[in-house]
């Protein structure tokens, strides 16, 4: 083992890239001590070299040719901080095939092409690490791969998107509507101008795909995941859920049963107030894992940002460097088995929260209960209230309007959907205002 520094190439100098540069510069001596060799940034490839950079970025390191930087003989580790699945994918593939180790925080890339990329890494005997791709600075992939590797993960519940958690927190604490909370999040920089990726659950789905794949040791198809965003969550539902002892969170849920069948879904979910996830607020993320032996563990922290994500990528680089120094070859290989049977959403069994608006007429509740019963959907709790004419929840239906809120016992989703179709046809029923799943 010679004592030359370990060369690192950084692709991209946006939020993640510049955060990584700052961290590696600041912690250089400490990292060298922990690794046993110093790291040296060989270059930072960007699309627009002429643009201004943060003061901590050494201008002499900025270059325009990413391919040439990756190919340099004195580059051993490549940190991909470009994002997306275009150039990022090209450069990561090229780096792996050239025998370079890669660290990335690119969730979309790993969720869509992670399995193929891991194969390429294994074929070339190099490491591909992506701790920062899920829950930013929260150590998650590492622990699942290592400390929990001998245990059996049975369920993963994640608050994996900071933007939607911030919006739901504002709606819960300040009684804001969705649009108002979204605008605030955009003003504060917690949400993009085009918020689709976050509020419609794509971002959370990418992350769940990655962590569930590692946790269950199976390669997973994004397309098989059920995904709902938070646009349908109203201030009324949040207030009603609060009275019932729940908070509404955008949960990413992965479960496996004894037959190795999986459930993979991202949707707004009622969570009991005393659950550890219920108190995860604002832009924070958390992942709650049920295991056969370790019982339950939770990881909590900031889900994104220059510091946290840069910290995660740097942690991956340090771990790769340790492999290099210790002479480890392909220490963590992709051991994913072929993709498992994933339950269609209609097949799942869970509890449901239903809010219906009906005419104020005797027998309405009875008729609804009857239909639910016919479809084997048991009622756990029910409440009915007469809404004031001007109550926003009444959606301006003419005449006195009743709001019926039902929480069911665990039921098959297909049955619930059929029941709701029939209930919707009842003349006295104005609308099925909301349907959300409940997770204990």
């Amino acid at each position: 083992m010679n004592s030359a520094p370990i060369g690192v190439a950084i692709l991209g100098c946006g939020v993640v890239g510049s955060g990584l540069v700052r961290l590696l510069t600041e912690s250089g001596s400490e990292v060298a001590r922990r690794v046993g060799l110093p790291l040296a940034i060989r270059g930072i490839a960007v699309a627009h070299p002429e643009r201004p950079r943060p003061e901590w970025v050494d201008p002499s390191l900025i270059c325009g040719d990413a391919a040439a930087l990756v190919a340099r003989d004195d580059v051993l580790i490549v940190a991909e901080c470009i994002g997306g699945t275009g150039q990022a994918r090209q450069y990561v593939e090229a780096a792996l095939r050239a025998g370079k180790h890669v660290a990335t925080a690119n969730k979309e890339l790993m969720a869509k092409h992670g399995h193929d990329l891991c194969q390429i890494a294994d074929d070339n005997g190099v490491a591909l690490r992506y701790e920062g791709s899920v829950a930013g600075g929260i150590p998650l992939i590492g622990p699942v791969r290592t400390s929990l590797a001998a245990d059996r993960i049975e369920r993963i519940l994640g608050i994996l998107n900071g933007t939607t958690n911030y919006i739901l927190t504002r709606m819960t604490r300040d009684g804001m509507g969705f649009e108002e909370a979204l605008e605030l999040a955009q003003e504060l920089g917690f949400a993009e101008m085009d918020p689709t990726d976050d509020v419609d659950g794509f971002d959370a789905a990418y992350k769940l795909n990655i962590v569930a794949s590692i946790g269950f040791g199976r390669s997973l198809r994004l397309g098989e995941m059920h995904r709902e965003g938070i646009r349908a969550v109203t201030a009324v539902d949040i207030a009603v859920a609060e009275r019932l002892g729940y908070v509404i969170k955008l949960l990413a849920i992965a479960k496996r049963d004894e037959e190795e069948r999986l459930e993979l879904r991202v949707h707004p979910t009622l969570v009991p107030k005393d659950h550890p996830l219920a108190s995860v607020s604002d832009e924070f993320n958390a992942v709650f894992i049920n295991l056969r032996h370790a019982k339950e563990v939770m990881f909590y922290g900031p889900g994104a940002g220059l510091g946290p994500t840069g910290s995660a990528v740097a942690g991956d680089i340090v771990d790769i460097a340790r492999d290099v120094v210790s002479g480890a070859r392909a220490r963590i290989r992709c051991t994913c088995q072929p993709h498992p049977e994933v339950r269609p959403i209609e097949e799942i069994r869970t509890r449901y929260y239903l809010r219906l608006l009906t005419r104020d007429r005797t027998g309405v509740l009875g008729g609804i209960a009857l239909i639910l019963g016919e479809y084997d959907v048991g009622i756990a709790t029910v409440s009915q209230e007469l809404l004031a004419e001007d109550d926003p929840a009444s959606h301006g239906y003419t005449g006195p309007c009743s709001q019926i809120v039902i929480v069911t016992h665990p039921a098959r989703e297909r049955n619930l959907r059929r029941a709701l179709r029939e209930i919707d046809r009842l003349p006295a029923v104005h609308a099925i205002a909301s349907t959300f799943r409940v997770e204990e």
Copy 2:
């Protein structure tokens, strides 16, 4: 690399040992897949081979001669599950010197002799892992060593002892006194018949010593840590703290300042209700870490028990096995620097909660405030109430008794102690009933 299984020797078959055996037996095929080679338990050494064992323990593996088992050529990894610092230390040393990797959950051993043992491991080019020694099944040492390795840890706050957290939770939720809650914990098996190790903070101190040593990269001396247990916490203080917006937890606290000076202390602490640690209840543990870049992360889970601790030791074994399979040599070496300057408790600056019992006389509060001011201890909030004759808090002092509760601004502990000595001499002051530190 040949394909013979990796031999594991297990020393001890108590709670941790038998839990480990069950897990390795149940997860055998999964572990083999993740590692690339199967693990094989070569033997389980116990002091009393004739004693009955759980049904999942293969009797043919039980043996009486630990030294002989460790020395076997087909044993590559030794799992120490004996506990204590006597035989456990001998066997761990012998194993390391014989070139065997070691996994242990022995917090006392690692806290008292960890630095020496890590040196021996490094000298012999083998791994010594101890994830299970802190916070049972919660992945903590691994993440601190890896994912957070490139960041700078500034503060560690831990609820590291499940017994005391259970006792404080009962006192908080059910208004029990300490003795009553302790008895309940003993009945339920959460506390030993001799509870000293837990309630006096020794157990938490061991764990803080281990995690702070890794987090700060310094070898630490147990003797330099300030340690107070929870015997002095009363139901009255918990109720008063509740009114002020705090919960009382036994916190293990480690901080470092810019000059690399450390604070290391274990004591009952007032924590704001909205802090993530405040909602960690019953026998659960949690560790909250402040970092320069990742900002803050928290790890939560069960702190002990057959399943969780066995899971942690098994995770270490899997990680060691990965090193073996990948040909890594001494992948994680002890990189601790010499022990740093540790601040004596008198030197720390923090906020304090004070509860005093005084005669009901005008000017008493003024006199107290005056003395605090002389010693540069600022008052943040103060309340005074006249206690009923029969109020338990009045400790049966004759005549009307006032209770004064003060929360200070950050102050030097030496100054506070001097001020309290003077205040204690005031004729109108019956007693300084309680003094606890506050951590934001």
